[in-house]
Symmetry: C2
Subunit: 129 residues, 2 copies
């Protein structure tokens, strides 16, 4: 079975985050992408998103391992909405940290046919009450 | 305060659904839009989406009143992810019916600057376990 290209991209992003290869990571985002860093903070543009990932890696003592569980891709033309069970394992002050969220990602396909992440919201619908 | 254009569009959609003006409703969708009718059924294209709304209206005895509560619009260039508390009131077999969901909608801005709905998923992240 051939995996959806978006699923492949998300797996590559998870690997790049684990390896702290943020230049490679940024190639999977649109130029005007946004990242919900936390419910009250949004990073806008690749520069801000890269800096956010650098800060997150530091905060978790360079131990982050993100993975995806069940994933659903709703595709409509050159726009896609991804709903994904996202896991984050890390160490924080000598304690193990584990997070499990239902994330929402919006992707768009560019003129070369490549899917890129436009909106990276790991908080899913938890951003509203 | 000026409301975000997408919020205005969603309010117009709610009104069109209530009035069963499905031709007007379809003007707010992209040509290749999709609607998650239920977790196991997706309507693709305006024709299928219109037919789905006609069937839903009939199922609820032409009594549907959709409204939105708290709404968050995450905008990145010509793509937007909307997270919205969606209410649906209706009558079904002489009983009142009420639904409350955290919906996710993907919008895109076309070359005329108009925001249109590409992915209409009232089930939000509940589509995955």
């Amino acid at each position: 079975m051939v995996e959806h290209e978006i699923k492949v991209v998300i797996h590559k992003c998870d690997l790049a985050i684990k390896q702290e290869d943020f230049d490679t990571l940024m190639t999977y985002y649109t130029d005007d992408a946004i990242l919900v860093v936390k419910p009250t903070k949004i990073a806008r543009s690749k520069v801000e998103i890269k800096n956010a990932f650098i800060a997150i890696a530091k905060y978790f003592n360079h131990s982050i391992v993100p993975t995806q569980g069940e994933m659903l891709i709703l595709e409509a033309g050159d726009t896609a909405l991804v709903i994904s069970q996202t896991f984050l394992e890390a160490e924080k002050e000598e304690n193990d940290y584990a997070m499990d969220r239902k994330a929402t990602y919006a992707f768009k396909r560019n003129s070369h046919g490549t899917w890129l992440c436009a909106i990276d919201n790991s908080y899913g619908t938890e951003l509203i009450k």
